[in-house]
Symmetry: C2
Subunit: 286 residues, 2 copies
Amino acid sequence: MTVLDGRSLARQIRARVATEAEALKRAAGVTPCLAAVLVGDDPASALYVRNKERECGRAGLTSRVLRLSRETTWDALRAELDRLGEDDAVHGILVQQPLPPQIPVDAVVTHTDPRKDVDGLHPLSGGLLLRGAPGFVPCTPLGVMALLRHYEIPLRGRRAVVVGRSALVGKPLALLLLAADATVTLCHSRTPDLGAVTREADIVCVAAGRAGLLTPDMVRPGAVVVDVGINRVDDHLVGDVAPGVAEVAGALSPVPGGIGPLTIAMLLANTLQAARRLTQGGDGPV
Amino acid sequence: MTVLDGRSLARQIRARVATEAEALKRAAGVTPCLAAVLVGDDPASALYVRNKERECGRAGLTSRVLRLSRETTWDALRAELDRLGEDDAVHGILVQQPLPPQIPVDAVVTHTDPRKDVDGLHPLSGGLLLRGAPGFVPCTPLGVMALLRHYEIPLRGRRAVVVGRSALVGKPLALLLLAADATVTLCHSRTPDLGAVTREADIVCVAAGRAGLLTPDMVRPGAVVVDVGINRVDDHLVGDVAPGVAEVAGALSPVPGGIGPLTIAMLLANTLQAARRLTQGGDGPV
């Protein structure tokens, strides 16, 4: 069984981002900059934002954190988003969720400058993905695709099953697998016999947020299993894949050390892309 | 075998649109208006636009056709799109395709006012669909859903297979079926054994644009088959479904008389929605 090592790939992606960011600096005098907006004092959110700052630093990107009080009004946050959209030194904008109840999440997403939408959450980004046009793709499904590509998992003409239909992971991942010429099935909580569907799959991606959802009997021997779940059980992290699956699958991404590290790596890659598009008007490697 | 009669349903939808348009006129003094832009003198396009004008008239909507010469520049067309976007008397904007080679189709789509995007082609509309938020959905997949709903075909927990992955039909249809709680599989030209996938389906929707693609052996007895194909063979219209399928399927939408008439009916419904959103800020029945 091949372990799909996301941690090691994330380091490689970060190194490539660092090289490309350095090249952009030499060519255009621009250092990609990610601005994170943190509203309130949720300790988990503060930790996530610190991790993103640290990873930016490691890849030679700059980062900026805008800390706003828990009482911030939507009007005030909107004004800050406008400022960040207009600020030429900022290339990526990320509003850390969850947000306090007075802030309308959908409006935040729609109000983030789509040219700087490195989380890929703006409806315009989603629409470009649906059309197969260049745009920002959410970091987690991008990370899944990077992992499959890195391990040279064939996708064309293969059957891929995605469990979970969120707008952030399941649906964009299905579209990416489809663009890679897989035949794609989307399952969810209303799928009556989940195992009957997942057993047909050459590649199973589980992003349902339910610990142990995918059991060994639900996996065809030799299939590739990507575990996108992150669940806290008895104070440690587990995925959506039950332990015994490792004995059946041909390849498996672990939790932790699989998709998690790739999500932040793809955020760096998206910030680099945003900086390139804003300064040079085009895309490039990474 | 039940014939899924799109022509009869289209008439019912048109009548409902007419009633609701009349109500909007009484309540807000507004008659929904569709503006069609026709560039060049392609006879098929001219015919499509005339059909749309006629259907608008039958439903009590007004329509306007902007006829531009084949030599129209993108700058000139863009200026017209801006004018239509700003014109409060216009609620829906439709640019008839195909367009002459000097016109960038993607730019036309992106430049159409998304509040008036009754064809559901703007990336913003696609992104809202992906998020499950209210927005404009392309008329053909809307027509498929209207037909399934009208005949009370159960979707929740059922397996639906969509053949064809276009941004206009296959992908939005898959998202709509998913939102209706079906387990959805998307197949396409790279699916090696199409029959093996379609035989799993309770509902098969074929939108591949290949006459006779779905043969009787590819359909589970009793399955619901929706034929979205429109192909001209020996001067008459046929769908993507081979004739013998009628003997196997439990229900089948014919070509002609199935999805075709519904596509125009949903354009009327979208124009009514646009007028309501622009004048009253909300949605309503139909």
